[in-house]
């Protein structure tokens, strides 16, 4: 019982940040048809900037809990500044080119952004543990879970709900849906596709940075830690269905639960179980478990 509860909490905690990161990746893919490897860089930048700000705020005398304000600041600043800069200079010039070549271009971009982090923030890891110390531990299933992890689960729920509302209940959401469905048709209908692309890319970047910023206080923020999250969020997105929000949620939950189960019960399979599931999904349901609707073209 304790074990089951622990797996549930661990899995949810892990799934929550994966969901936020993957959501950014999947909406960019859904709308722009770009599989963005540099998404890992947004994540890393978000984490670095957040950890840096928390350190600064803490030095200024802000309370441990108060330093959490750094999280939304870092996510928005990194997402908007870096996201805009990249969309305007690189991504914009890639629209319409070969899908795989775009992936490679974003891989190049990722390498560049990783090293700019090194040059800017140095090689020493950052520790921004203050928020995790500020939240009391909660006893669940016989062991202490940190309150911060529970807050992460709550945040991911909020992010998920907001995204759903924006996409399904607002004018903007309808524009986006129209473009996902068929971008040529959207152009014909007079939608400013360029503008929507831009906004969606930046929104995706903010989400990537938010995932990084929120996880920052629980890890040592060190060079190169964006590498793993890229393939993990690829796995999430592929499992759920590329371009689908519900898919990102389901994919993140599956990956989170699988990994928590593996670490606690079967550590040998921890590292590949996720990719085995990814391969299985591709084999049996290549469009993912929740593929978005596709326009039928004749």
């Amino acid at each position: 019982m304790n074990l089951a509860l622990t797996i549930l909490v661990e899995g949810l905690g892990y799934a929550s940040y994966l969901f936020i990161v993957s959501l950014g990746l999947t909406i960019i893919f859904g709308v722009l048809k770009i599989l963005n490897v540099a998404h890992g860089a947004f994540y890393a930048w978000g984490a670095y900037f957040c950890a840096f700000l928390i350190g600064e705020f803490s030095a200024m005398g802000v309370s441990d809990l108060g330093t959490m304000i750094a999280i939304p600041i870092a996510a928005l600043v990194v997402g908007i500044v870096l996201g805009s800069a990249i969309e305007r200079t690189i991504i914009r010039n890639l629209y319409g080119r070969d899908e795989v070549l775009i992936v490679l271009a974003t891989f190049g971009l990722f390498l560049v952004l990783e090293d700019v982090i090194l040059l800017l923030f140095g090689v020493d890891p950052y520790f921004a543990f203050q928020p995790t110390y500020a939240m009391p531990g909660v006893q669940i299933g016989g062991i202490y879970q940190d309150g911060y992890k529970l807050s992460m689960i709550a945040l991911s729920l909020v992010v998920g709900i907001i995204s759903w509302v924006v996409l399904n209940r607002t004018h903007w959401g309808k524009l986006v849906a129209a473009i996902i469905f068929d971008s040529d048709l959207a152009v014909a209908m007079g939608i400013n596709v360029r503008r929507v692309f831009y906004v969606v890319f930046v929104a995706g970047a903010v989400l990537g940075a938010l995932g990084g910023a929120y996880i920052a206080p629980t890890i040592s923020v060190a060079p190169g830690f964006g590498v793993e999250v890229i393939v993990l969020s690829f796995a999430v997105v592929v499992i759920g269905g590329m371009g689908s929000i519900a898919g990102a949620a389901i994919g993140a939950l599956m990956v989170g639960m699988l990994r928590a189960y593996a670490v606690l019960q079967w550590p040998e399979i921890e590292l590949f179980v996720v990719y085995a599931v990814m391969a299985a999904v591709l084999i049996f349901r290549p469009e993912g478990l929740f593929a978005p609707a596709k326009a039928r073209k004749i």
């Binding site: 599989l35 490897v37 690189i90 914009r92 010039n93 629209y95 319409g96 080119r97 070969d98 899908e99 795989v100 070549l101 992936v103 490679l104 271009a105 891989f107 190049g108 971009l109 990722f110 390498l111 560049v112 952004l113 990783e114 090293d115 700019v116 090194l118 040059l119 090689v123 590498v227 890229i230 393939v231 690829f234 796995a235 592929v238 590329m242 550590p267 040998e268 399979i269 921890e270 590292l271 590949f272 179980v273 996720v274 990719y275 085995a276 990814m278 391969a279 591709l282 084999i283 290549p286």
Partner: protein, 336 residues
């Protein structure tokens, strides 16, 4: 057609002969060693080139690279077989067999799904290797000293020269064979498949089988490259042989080289290796930045890769696009 094939054959033969002679008589050991590493990787890149001509790019060929490397290393460690005339073919054959098996699934996929499915398979192997203590987990393990015709050597420079000549000979052979294959009817289906699959089917060929064949071929070449790499470095480990970044690197070199010729991967790999060495030496904290920026520059300004530059410099304007045009331009989508 025959005429153009002969030209390339002569070019390849002269090129490799010159490099081999330079290597034996002129080049210092470190450069020899880098060329060895670069050509090992180039074998894998030739494999990727075969797929790329079909419009397919794999983000998971580190699977075969790692299989080849671990095959060579494990034959030495588990069975005491160090004979390169056995271990290297074994690396290629084993990779080809795995490629043949997975090919039944993979041949149905195109574009991003093809890339992703390969990625997933390679990450499964990565996860297994990292968790396998008997194979050294994250550390990997050392490769036994290789022998040829039962002969070994303790002298590092002799071993280096022998391996170098070996990779030159195999590189030449692979380049020639792949070149002939691409010129054959079966091989030229490559471009046809990329341009219009349905038309190929109407001609009475099975697209799935054509792709399957190319996939196995690329797996074998990549495995062979991995096997050479294991011998060149004397060490195998999951991070530098099987992780997704290795696949990314291979694709990177493919783009850097350009699809123009089977000679391009060898030149591209060498440039990549030197670029990395010098970047690492000059700016140790920013070598990835230089490598990444190079990749972006190539994609934006030199879509035909280094090959198109070389052929332009030597006065052959059309050499960058032999047989047919590049994948991305053939899709007919202009830049916005």
């Amino acid at each position: 057609m025959t005429h153009s094939m002969d030209r390339t054959l002569v070019g390849l033969t002269v090129g490799f002969a010159v490099v081999a002679l330079l290597g034996v008589f002129v080049l210092p050991d470190w450069l020899l060693s880098q060329t060895l590493i670069a050509f090992s990787r180039a074998l894998a890149v030739v494999g990727l080139l075969v797929l790329w001509r079909t419009g397919l790019v794999s983000f998971g060929h580190a699977l075969y690279f790692g299989l080849g490397a671990y095959t060579v290393a494990m034959l030495g460690r588990e069975l005491g077989i160090t004979e390169v005339l056995i271990t290297l073919p074994a690396a290629a054959v084993f990779s080809a067999l795995v490629g043949f098996g997975l090919g039944f699934i993979i041949r149905k996929y195109r574009e991003i799904f093809f890339a992703m499915l390969n990625l997933a398979f390679s990450m499964v192997l990565f996860g297994i290797l990292v968790k396998t203590e008997s194979l050294g987990s994250t550390d990997g393990f050392s490769v036994e000293q290789p022998t040829i015709f039962g002969l070994g050597t303790d002298d590092a420079s002799v071993k280096l020269i022998a391996l170098f000549l070996g990779v030159c000979a195999v590189g030449w052979l692979v380049a020639v064979l792949v070149h002939r294959y691409l010129g054959s009817v079966l091989g030229s289906l490559t471009t046809a498949v990329r341009d219009n699959e349905i038309r190929v089917e109407y001609l009475g060929y099975s697209v799935a089988e054509a792709i399957h064949g190319k996939y196995v071929m690329s797996a074998a070449l990549t495995g062979l490259g991995g096997g050479f790499m294991a011998l060149a470095l004397g060490q195998v480990d999951p991070e530098s042989m099987v992780n997704w970044t290795v696949s990314g690197e291979l694709v990177f070199i493919t783009i850097l080289s350009g699809p123009g010729s089977v000679a391009a991967p060898f030149i591209g790999s060498l440039i990549f290796e030197l670029l990395r060495t010098y970047a690492y030496e000059l700016v140790p904290y920013a070598w990835q930045l230089i490598v990444g920026a190079t990749l972006l520059l190539i994609i934006f300004f030199l879509p035909g890769g280094v090959w198109s530059l070389i052929s332009r410099l030597t006065g052959r304007r059309d050499a960058g696009r032999p047989e047919s045009s590049r994948p991305e331009s053939s899709r007919g989508e202009a830049n916005p």
